[in-house]
Symmetry: C2
Amino acid sequence: MNYSTLAKGTLKGDRKAAARLISVVEDEEEGYREAMKIVFCGTRGAGVLGITGAPGVGKSTLVFEIAKSFRKAGKSVGIVAVDPTSPLTGGAILGDRIRMTDLSADPGVFIRSMGSRGGTGGLSLQTSNVIRILDALGCDEIIVETVGAGQTQVDIMGMADTVVVVTMPGTGDEVQSIKAGLLEIADLYLVNKMDLPGAMNTASDLKSMLDLVDDWKGWKPPVLLASASTGRGLDQMLEFIGRHRAWISQPERFLERRSRQARKEIYDLVTMEVHRMIESKFPSVKLDAIVRDVVQGKLSPYEAAEKVAAFAIR
Amino acid sequence: MNYSTLAKGTLKGDRKAAARLISVVEDEEEGYREAMKIVFCGTRGAGVLGITGAPGVGKSTLVFEIAKSFRKAGKSVGIVAVDPTSPLTGGAILGDRIRMTDLSADPGVFIRSMGSRGGTGGLSLQTSNVIRILDALGCDEIIVETVGAGQTQVDIMGMADTVVVVTMPGTGDEVQSIKAGLLEIADLYLVNKMDLPGAMNTASDLKSMLDLVDDWKGWKPPVLLASASTGRGLDQMLEFIGRHRAWISQPERFLERRSRQARKEIYDLVTMEVHRMIESKFPSVKLDAIVRDVVQGKLSPYEAAEKVAAFAIR
């Protein structure tokens, strides 16, 4: 189908067109790529803020408060809540959206939840498209929230200009519970629920860990304390988000970050293309036979891969 | 270099040759693939048991106890401890190997720690090679231990015949802290440190979660309680591991599992090949220019990927 009408509507600020286009992208309906090419040309360079952390640390409340502050500054806001664990939880982790209703009536706010629908392209490619759709729709600021779930979470956060990793005291092993991949992309740590016992310890553990790294290349992630529900510490967090935004916006730095993101996306898309090619063109009977030979020890996986690659790759 | 001597030595039971070959594989030294083809033909079908969970839940003690019981049954044992978080932690998470010294003096036990050395092939491909080396060396049983770290952990556990997911009471959100990907591959849940308060609650939370799934296709993962340090509950765990082994060993089931593993490995290897091809043959100036066009909004990532794919793919 031709979804260019939805794409063009999105560029004109039509929220319904954008919402429908997002569904098209999520379902990877045929023709969505052509529509995305149009969307891509209409992006305006919205700021992208990533908020991530384990379930229950208070991410949604933070997103709500940050969105409110953007609105006060006269900016339109897109919110994308991505739950990579959704096939199992049924999306329950991001189900706590009650407070969001305050915002959803606001025409300057666009909210969308996404879960894994099992498309071939993967949730992170879909999310990057949704970010672009909201950008093209005219959102000034886009907030992306994910729950902790491995590589997808890391990939999605890699699309943000600024990443806030949220934790809370009292889970025993806060520092180690922050996954390695996240440590590499965090720009700011927030110990939420600062009124709980152990908050200071959690913060100082995080700081000690960060002290082990020598070369921060200009930005050492601050460790902040806050209480999203009472509002304590939120101004400080917003100030640091703004500082990081200013830092990352320096032309060469911005270019480097965006280039890294683009490179990764191109690789992912090429990989997807190769897998699709194998599945569609490589005779499945032949692939099954190769797999069987590997299982029976007649062929090593390397030889098997060479056979498949010889077919697929120039 | 030619490492076939190491591969042949491994097949003859030479532990030193195996240890050196593992290093070659970890460093992805040129020629390691040829050596692995020899190893592959020498595998004997060792049982592979996966043990995973967050840091601090007591995995290493469990591995130690399980290895001891295999030894008592007259079986030789290979232990592979994989820490995907090692670039950041310096391997500290798997540093608690003191008790292993009891075993390391035993010629019937081969122990190896692995961390991410940043090779292009990835830790999970390396681990699958190490499993094969230990299999070809003559280990009857191979135990693979990983700490929780996203997709790599899930991929590595996907190589095991039986996967035990270990948790403990008192971390607040035990069920949600078990990552989605793991839920899909767990064959057995163990609530370790059962003497701590809340152990029964953790177990019943897990059970309630499992009750939400209808179609277990013949094996519903049991939720067991144990205390690895006092030995309580370990016999029961070993019994269930044995039961799962018997269940999974039925020919068609075994074939299905091994086929899935082989298929995934072939895809990973082909993907690696494509990436390597792009990097080695696609002119980097040209790739840089394409990335720049994407960053500047002149080209969509889809068009960029099409350009690269047209070069790489038949």
